[in-house]
Symmetry: C2
Subunit: 336 residues, 2 copies
């Protein structure tokens, strides 16, 4: 995978995207990822083993490129949150079984003291899209990833806004339907509980169990447990009115959530990524219409709703943006 923007000053960076099942690590210049390696996460080996294998993958890519003698200016790491970006600690990540794990310090130690910067996956994806993808033209933007869960990133005046304790952008847990379906977070009616890929499949499954949806019955061979979000889109595309209604509701909830975000932040652009957005052709116009219904003229004018452009690479490109921004900040004494 390569992606070019500008050559920069010749510095080399490490970039890492840590997921629950796989990790992608690579070497990048200021504007381009030169090469990457994908390794399984293997959570059960423990956090330090994961860190050691990340360091190994970075060294391996560096060697493949014939750049093993060149020092790295820094490493940017995208990890699931919540976390403390200043201390480089992942506070609690169920997927990885990490609790208060100082991943930045440990990875730095494994890489001869190279500075390591971390940010959560949604913030990284948002920064990647803002710096290299669908958001390059906008100083004020909000990124949402709509997948099994829903996360986000807030960019104000070209800078990521992490809030007071690195917990800004948790848009998946905005209450959109008070008294609505329970959410894994302990609340009910959260956006994630009614508009994520998981929620789409769950709602369709309920309709199928009620015997209301022959298309899904056919697609799943009659087993409600096999309903997936892509199946709901497929059924809707084939004319299944119930599945179309499920998607209308999802677009309505997302439209309300986005409009609420616009009311607070008045961004110029909203960028939507994540697996559910593979269906952007169907979903984006529905969401756009619903969102605009709620906005005042000045907010609606010039507001762009776009699909993310970097696909699976947004996190890695965001890790690159993170490390190059952090390096500049560290040099200038800025703390952003």
């Amino acid at each position: 995978m390569t992606m070019t923007q500008n050559a920069g000053d010749g510095s080399l960076f490490g970039v890492v995207d840590v997921g629950g099942t796989k990790i992608v690590a690579g070497i990048a210049t200021e504007g381009e990822i030169l090469a990457t390696e994908k390794i399984p996460t293997e959570v059960m080996g423990g956090a330090d083993a994961v860190t050691a294998r990340i360091a190994g993958a970075i060294r391996s890519v560096q060697a493949q490129l014939g750049l093993e003698g060149r020092p790295l200016a820094g490493v940017g790491v995208s990890v699931p949150g919540p976390l403390d970006t200043a201390l480089g600690i992942v506070s609690f990540t169920p997927n990885l079984h990490w609790v208060d794990y100082p991943v930045a310090a440990r990875l730095s130690a494994a890489l001869d003291g190279v500075p390591v910067y971390i940010d959560d996956d949604a913030n990284c994806a948002g920064q990647g899209e803002a710096a290299f993808g669908a958001g390059v033209d906008y100083a004020h933007q909000v990124y949402l990833t709509i997948s099994t869960g829903i996360g986000g990133a807030v960019i104000v005046d070209g800078r990521i806004d992490r809030g007071f304790r690195d917990a800004a952008g948790e848009v998946g847990h905005m209450t959109i339907l008070p008294g609505g379906p329970d959410c894994l977070c302990g609340n009910s009616g959260c956006l994630e509980a009614i508009a994520s890929g998981t929620a789409i499949a769950r709602r369709a499954r309920q309709l199928m169990i009620q015997g209301q949806d022959p298309t899904l019955a056919r697609l799943t061979g009659g087993d409600p447990e096999r309903v997936t979000a892509p199946m709901v889109f497929e059924a809707a595309a084939s004319g299944d009115v119930l599945c179309q209604t499920v998607l209308d509701d999802v677009a309505n909830y997302l439209g309300i959530a986005l409009a609420n975000i616009v009311m607070v932040l008045n961004p110029q652009a909203i960028i939507l990524g994540g697996g559910v957005m593979e269906q952007a052709e169907v979903l984006l116009p529905l969401i756009d219409r619903r969102m605009r219904m709620h906005l005042i003229k000045v907010q609606r004018e010039g507001l762009v709703l776009k699909r993310a452009a970097l696909g699976d690479n947004s996190g890695l490109m965001g890790a690159l943006q993170l490390v190059r921004r952090r390096r500049v900040s560290a040099a200038s004494g800025d703390v952003s």
Copy 2:
């Protein structure tokens, strides 16, 4: 009215708070409003006449202080929005009958070319509280005014975030109860339609019309049109269970709205002002509990929910903060 923070460099500023019925204009130093004059707005005379009388009031206060020879470094004006802060134009203010009115240029012309900066009333009140009031300790904060309407201001890293088109902080029009009561903005279920002073009175009035509320019947002499928000608080305090329930619902809606804002921005503090907050002793603990129910641990920890401290002076103090910040920005080429 005087308020001291620091003496500054000896510069003098004009400060103005324009409302639909009255205008307060005054003279201030960097940290202190020296004296003010209150004049009726007299909307029907037209925008230019209002501007001329604002200029007159500023000159009059300056003369009273024996400072008529001293040039003003700038004038800060709080006006109802929406507006364009960069151009100094009020786009549309029903209360004032102003449409695309270049108030900054006109007031500047009436004051021998002194630079005039404008911001909307909620942003000014929020900046006033952040610089001189309840918000002085917090870099990340959100201000809400809960009155006949609901407005707000977003402060990120110590700077007001106006968004792309000066339309950030419109928290009163977040949809909190989809399908709920109609709002003046054309939508339904907006926070303002279910939790403003107007909404509190409306809901109680409905209950009284249904014959359910003998306390209100007594307080109003049987005329539902006479129900006001303070009456609802009075009835609730006297043990009226229906009015207590109305306030519980209001606290619930405000709690959801504030939690949604925290999900997006993770601020350190939320400051609540406006007339309804004169009942803060009753309402604040209810709102606080509801809000925290929805938050994740890291957002809840260290988050402060406070009543505004400057009362009616928040707008004027915010106009002062606006003009002193703008002057510094203008000198440094910054545009914030």
